[in-house]
Amino acid sequence: MHWMFSCKDVSQLISESMDRSLPFYQRVLIRLHLLMCKYCARCKEHFEALRTASRHEELYGNELDESRALSHAGKERLKKFFKNHLSDTS
């Protein structure tokens, strides 16, 4: 890797920084690159949005339409399925 990172390098390192801690000099060079390159800055923003949103899904789940529920027949089907499966495996 050249000491001046390309956009390809930076996008990869931004992603890696979300999964491991990068050496200090790499963090500095990325920061410098981001100051000058709005596309890489956007890419970083998008990666972070993917993470924030994915981890917010549970919250979204709490706002699901409460009026939708399994039908009585559906519940009975599932329970029957369970009973059969448990008796098969026991």
């Binding site: 956009c7 981890r55 369970f82």
Partner: protein, 195 residues
């Protein structure tokens, strides 16, 4: 029955799962797949997978979170099958995804757009998860799996490596490719209206 039955006690008693978690899982599935019959099937598949993997529930998360994590993987599998997009794990395909984003000098070939919605608040949009699940289903299977384990299930990189049986370096590369593809897919399908 005690009102505050612990999650571990519920998980130990599969026959009570339908009453405790059935509706929530069903609603969640329905919000993604829209078809009540499919949603019910997905709940059943989730319970079956959970039954087989019961040992892996250690009470560290809530029973609901554990089951939802299983359900999410089932939803992506379902969408993939529905649209007959066979997962491809070929290395050539993976490098194609990555290389098409940049020119030979490592500069952006397809520049990231400014998203029409504030990226930090994107999850507030109802369409977001619909598009995300479709984009996940279009990814090569193992990339989608790596992304979901890391970002949706919140596993550490070390745990992801263990589940997928890959090295740390491999996991970084796979997660990078998954993020790049998803970013672009969201942009193409939904968000990339502004330059």
């Amino acid at each position: 029955m005690s009102k505050r039955k612990s999650d571990a006690a519920i998980i130990d008693d599969p026959e009570s799962w339908v009453d405790h978690y059935g509706d929530f899982l069903y609603r969640f599935a329905l919000s993604r797949v829209k078809d009540p019959a499919v949603a019910e099937d997905l709940v059943q598949e989730t319970f079956l997978a959970a039954l087989r993997a019961r040992e892996s529930f250690k009470g560290c998360s809530s029973g609901r979170t554990w089951l939802i994590a299983i359900l999410k993987h089932k939803i992506v599998d379902h969408i993939r099958k529905k649209f007959r997009e066979p997962p491809s794990d070929k290395i050539e395909t993976l490098s194609d995804i990555r290389d098409s984003d940049f020119n030979d000098g490592g500069k952006w070939q397809v520049r990231p757009h400014k998203w029409a919605i504030n990226p930090g608040k994107i999850y507030e949009q109802k369409e977001f998860f619909d598009v995300l699940y479709h984009c996940l289903a279009e990814l090569p299977g193992r990339l989608a799996e790596a992304f979901m384990l890391r970002e949706m299930d919140g596993l550490s990189t070390a745990e992801v490596c263990k589940v997928l049986n890959i090295t740390a370096t491999n996991s970084w590369v796979m997660l990078y490719r998954a993020r790049m593809s998803l970013r672009r897919c969201l942009e193409n399908k939904w968000l990339g209206e502004e330059q």
